[in-house]
């Protein structure tokens, strides 16, 4: 289970879980769950297009996820956000359907791009994942305070000169960066599950943002590690275990929050925005 090629899998999955934990925390906090679903899925269509043109999959993924992020950001400002997201997603998937149907021998690759091919990670795939992962986490680190403020209290942030539209765009681009790197490894659907389940669970356990991010990474790691181990033994797809474990963590978090709420008079529900402990300078 820990032999040569499996080591790459463990390393890649660990990096992905950390990225998903950090980016996903903000996705959940901002309620950008739909975008978190749409961007990796749209990126999948880009990979299909790239393989049709015979260029690197990575370029296709990057182009489509960035285009998707820009489209959602730009149109989300002028129309309803969920409508813009839905239409950007279907447009990209429609193109994906076209690319896949034109290139005939693509079924296996379609499956692995959607559901991941985590057991086939080559050593030279690790470096770009690590670099882009570090870049997206660094970017979040740089804009941490304004992003936090604009996510939790958009009006206050706006009053302090943090444009929520610009913040949204920056965040979507970071998400696109994270997606384009992780989709070929873990698949579009898995990336989404990792970005939602563990962070949502973490937020139910603690209102403190710093702790929630740490917990979110921990849950993500627990999810992928368990998933890989069980998947290695049973040969069932990793996506199944990640999806189910994410839901289990979330339900546990909801149960815990409910339990705590019934105990304390203080009605601090799981859905409330986390109080911002870090005051912006």
């Amino acid at each position: 289970m820990f032999s040569g090629f499996m080591m790459n899998t463990w390393i890649a999955a660990t990096i992905v879980a950390v990225i998903a934990g950090v980016v996903g925390f903000f996705a959940v906090l901002r309620g950008s769950t739909f975008a978190a679903h749409a961007i990796p899925n749209g990126a999948f269509a880009g990979a299909a297009g790239a393989s049709l043109l015979g260029i690197s999959t990575l370029i296709g993924l990057a182009v489509f996820s960035v285009a998707g992020a820009l489209g959602i950001g730009a149109f989300g400002r002028r129309a309803r956000h969920d409508v813009a997201t839905a239409l950007a997603l279907v447009l990209m998937l429609g193109l994906g359907a076209l690319f896949i149907s034109v290139s005939t021998e693509y079924a296996q690759e379609t499956y692995s791009l959607l559901f991941g091919e985590v057991f086939g990670v080559s050593p030279d795939e690790l470096l770009p994942i690590a670099i882009l992962g570090a870049a997206s986490i660094l970017a979040i680190g740089v804009i941490f305070r304004p992003l936090m403020l604009s996510s939790a209290m958009p009006e206050v942030a706006e009053a302090r000169g943090v444009s929520s539209a610009r913040m949204e765009m920056v965040f979507l681009l970071i998400m696109a960066l994270a997606a384009s790197m992780t989709v070929p490894v873990v698949g579009a659907l898995l990336m989404f599950s990792l970005m939602i389940g563990p962070p949502a669970a973490a937020r139910s356990f603690t209102p403190r943002p710093g702790l929630a991010i740490v917990l979110s990474i921990a849950f993500g790691l627990a999810t992928v590690w368990t998933g890989i181990a069980v998947s290695y033994v049973t040969n069932w797809p990793l996506g199944f275990f990640v999806g189910v474990l994410g839901a289990v963590f979330y339900l546990a978090g909801r149960a815990w929050a409910t339990l705590r709420r019934t105990r304390s008079v203080r009605a601090a529900g799981p859905g409330r925005p986390a109080p911002v402990t870090a005051q912006p300078a």
Binding site: L87, G94, L98, I100, S101, T110, F192, I196, G271
Partner: protein, 312 residues
């Protein structure tokens, strides 16, 4: 001119059996999705609509596994997911996207398992493409009555409930004060949404059924005044996009690469998105466009409320 028509409408278009079925089912799907979609957009539940379609895929791939007709799998999982979403609170504004996302993630995980088992059993991976992207040209004619019936049921539920649904969508508080059982209405609507989405998932594929649900409705809410007109316009746009899509897909057998048609889903989605974008060309100077979709419906809700108070 005759030559042009001959070019546009390939000979054999209307006499071809699969095309007739496609046109019939496509119309039912487009009308149902168009009408249901107006409420989906007004209620801001696009993500729920998309998630239901995706979770329905899980049912589709499960049905594939046990050799059942896909449609029943789509329907069973779609309705099941709708019930689950309702229980964990999709109707609340806060936190519902996360709840939807978690259900979607779990559903997709299950889909991965089913598709893997499908592939292991039949040693083909074609199942994933069929289930995810579907094709309106390969609908078994034995399913057609069931498809049409379920479309009509969904349509009927939404039309009968449209008045209370609209009120509870726009202002749940006022609806509750007026004695509307907001939660029950919402649940009934969610079931109708699940049926409609399963239907279009079979027709144009699970991932793309969102296009017919959201696109025409969002377009209609931008250009039509009032929910009734919006529903009519939305259904019309959906039908036009579907017919044109089928026509183009049929024509595309002559396009490169030869002997291989382009997918209908692509054309329908592209047309739906183009229609939506055209509404932005029409009124570029509208400054309040940020909330146009709700604005159009909101303006009518006031007159609807007026009508309500006048009636009472």
């Amino acid at each position: 001119m005759g030559h042009f028509f001959h070019y546009l409408f390939e000979p054999g278009l209307v006499s071809s059996g699969p095309v007739r079925v496609a046109l019939l089912v496509g119309t039912v799907v487009a009308v149902t999705s168009g009408v249901v979609g107006v409420f989906t957009v007004t209620r801001g539940q696009s993500f729920a609509g998309h998630a239901l379609a995706d979770v329905a895929t899980t049912g589709g791939s499960g049905a594939f596994l046990i050799g059942l007709n896909q449609f029943w799998g789509f329907l069973a999982f779609g309705i099941g997911a709708a019930a689950f979403l309702e229980i964990i609170g999709v109707q609340r504004r806060r936190g519902r996207d996360v709840a939807t996302g978690v259900v979607l993630g779990a559903g997709l995980g299950l889909a991965a398992l089913f598709l893997y088992l499908d592939a292991a059993r039949t040693s083909t991976t074609g199942a994933s493409f069929t289930v995810l992207f579907g094709s309106i040209f390969v609908i078994a004619s034995s399913t057609v009555p069931a498809l049409i019936a379920s479309g009509l049921i969904a349509l009927l539920v939404v039309v009968v409930l449209s008045r209370v649904l609209l009120l509870s969508s726009l202002s749940p508080d006022i609806a509750a004060v007026r004695g509307v059982p907001v939660r029950a209405v919402g649940a009934a609507y969610l079931i109708a949404l699940a049926i409609s989405v399963s239907l279009s998932a079979v027709a144009i594929g699970a991932v793309l059924s969102t296009a017919l649900l959201i696109g025409p409705a969002a377009t209609a809410l931008r250009i039509a005044k009032g929910p009734v007109r919006a529903m009519a316009v939305s259904a019309l746009i959906g039908v036009v996009a579907t017919w044109l899509g089928i026509l183009l897909a049929y024509d595309s057998y002559d396009w490169p690469p030869h002997g291989h048609g382009w997918p209908v889903s692509f054309f329908i989605v592209a047309l739906v998105v183009i229609f939506y974008l055209l509404t932005y060309l029409r009124r570029p100077s509208r400054s309040r466009s940020a909330r146009t979709a709700s604005g159009a419906a909101g303006a009518h809700s006031r007159s609807e409320e007026g009508a309500c108070s006048a009636a009472s």
